[in-house]
Symmetry: C2
Subunit: 375 residues, 2 copies
């Protein structure tokens, strides 16, 4: 990745705890030699499952049984596994935010699932539109396999769904007897403002599936996510679909060893630095593009969602930016049907602060230049 | 796992290179901090892909492009991914050895695939029976999505398919334009005798898929396997089905760092100790069960395949053995339709040599006792 790569939601190498993690890695191999020589089972290294149960308790006040947590190869394996387990191979419909994580969209499309997009606003998925979507499906005699929702620091828009709307979403889902799959991978990448409870913490019904990750608070290269479900039956159904002989013991044990007694200290250090990067990017956008574009001010997560001037040719801007070694993600990647307005998504976690300023200046020149020239 | 657990194909904790691996783990974190903060792509850590290309070249004399190797979460992810990519969701048939790896059988059954078992003998899958199976399917207007075959140190029977039969198998597959998926995960767990080339090394056609692993020569807890295919089109088709955002960078980079300059030295050390365990188990079987049972003498791999006396009640023996803290795998687990004769599979990699003697003595008492008592 180059210095002006704003395309991917990677973590911040500048706060990566290299020395402490190196020491933890060495300790882990010594401690867990026998476990490394055996298969992990379908749930994975117990130490990390216990730690993630603690993480959820600390954040949500909900006690999860570590035996009801399955570690996965990043949360993307969980995203995929849930759909593989809950879909039936024909007439499969999933309802999700109209703008949503591109990885989920392409995985689900790859699995042949029909995606129904629900419009979003600055507070996430619009529940009036969700209600209409579910009613529309019901009128056709169909029901979605599940609702997939990123309620906190939504990717790509950065919004947080307020508590009231969460309760409304859950009420609608219950009324339609619909499973809710909550992807909470950004939960702890928090900069300011109130922390809203996760959906699963607001519902004691049997149709909640919850996905989370270490990719955003620790490192995507450890490839560790996890899933839980609010009923044993639902959990078993998902875990039984797993056919990979279990998650990575080495990575899980090293992560548990490092994070074990400093999870929140680690998260706070990472977030402080990420907030500075977010602020730097917001400032650079203001000074470089304040007259022509608008953008989100996300209170958490790793992305800023930018609306370019109407009529912008995003592909041409992308090419012009690439010539200046700047990259971003086109907004259409995050639209369930590849449509939508002239948006781009900027990730701020990876680049150094001076490079953020320089990169946004180069992006601004690319936008201006493309706007001036005839198409 | 207890001291007399002969049920799972784990590696030998006694030759696990704890100190060297601990040092390699620490070096890896320092070397690859930036890579750990980014996503791995769908192929995974380049260093391990290069090393696995070298491994294949050293063993098979075939030069693989590291860009045509995808790392997977153990070879089981590869086993599953291949079927997910090549099956169409209806009328899916896979042809495989009648006795085969239980993980593959249950994964493929879980995916709704119809399995056609081809009888095996001491030289692996019988090619006359393969020919009949393919002709039988053709007469029904059907063709298998692929032939899955474990030609070397076959699990569970321990057989090695001779070169001539390999060529015959490939000839038959070509004639039926059928993809061959070769699972070579035991390839380097070699004790004696001639090394026979892998199927993919004997065929330059476009329909070969090859799976291999670090689970058997290094440690299953690193969850690293890999796949390649003989045409770019076939390779892309399989890799595109992957929706997990890529394999584990941390585990792959640590494994490459440790194995990098001592792969074969490591393998030789591991095999020497495993051969001693195999020999100990063969000796114990001879002295404890020589009058009543027969078994394989595998020149590689991690298992001995034992035929119990006719009329044995394997479930009762299993229960009696469990009371003596001895476990094994029932032969029916490895039969494509859960049938077959009175076989059990004994894994010898995990237990210490004195425990192998003691465990086989306990197993013998369980068999005798169960045979004496009325059912």
């Amino acid at each position: 990745m180059g210095p002006f790569d704003f395309s991917t939601g990677t973590t911040n190498p500048e706060t990566f705890p290299t020395e402490e993690l190196a020491a933890a890695a060495a300790r882990t191999v010594r401690k867990h030699a026998v476990e490394l020589n055996t298969y992990p089972g379908s749930l994975g290294h117990e130490g990390l499952r216990r730690l993630m149960a603690q993480r959820e308790f600390d954040r949500e006040g909900v006690r999860l049984d570590p035996e009801r947590i399955a570690l996965t190869n990043g949360s993307m394996q969980a995203v995929t596994l849930v759909a593989e387990a809950l879909c039936e191979g024909r007439d499969d419909v999933v309802v999700m935010e109209e703008y949503c994580y591109s990885g989920t969209i392409s995985a689900y499309q790859g699995l042949g699932i029909e995606l129904v997009g629900v419009p979003v606003d600055g507070r996430g998925m619009r529940t009036d539109a969700l209600q209409s979507a579910l009613e529309g499906l019901r009128d056709e005699g169909r029901s979605p396999r599940f609702i997939y929702v990123l309620a906190t620091y939504q990717n790509p828009t950065g919004s947080v769904m307020p508590r009231e709307r969460r309760l409304e979403l859950l009420r609608i889902a219950r009324a339609h007897r619909c499973i809710v799959v909550e992807d909470n991978c950004y939960a702890d990448v928090h900069y300011e403002g109130e922390k809203v409870p996760a959906l699963y913490a607001l519902d004691d019904g049997p149709r909640q599936v919850y996905l989370c990750s270490l990719s955003k608070i620790f490192a995507p290269g450890v490839r560790l996510g996890y899933l839980t479900a609010s009923s044993a039956e639902l959990f078993e159904r998902i875990v039984e679909r797993r056919h990979d002989a279990g998650p990575n013991t080495l990575a899980a044990a090293i992560s548990a060893e490092y994070l074990g007694d400093r999870l929140w200290e680690h998260v706070e250090t990472a977030n402080r630095a990420l907030k500075a990067k977010r602020d730097a990017m917001l400032l650079a956008l203001e000074s470089e593009l304040g007259n022509t574009c608008s953008w989100s001010h996300p209170p958490g997560g790793l992305f800023i969602w930018v609306r370019l001037p109407d009529g912008s040719d995003v592909e041409r801007i992308e090419a012009a930016a690439a010539e200046r070694e700047v990259s971003f993600s086109r907004g259409t990647l995050f639209h369930v049907h590849g449509g939508g307005g002239p948006y781009i998504r900027l990730a701020f976690g990876f680049s150094r602060i001076p490079d953020i300023h320089e990169g946004i200046a180069r992006l601004a020149r690319s936008i201006e230049e493309t706007g001036r020239e005839p198409a």
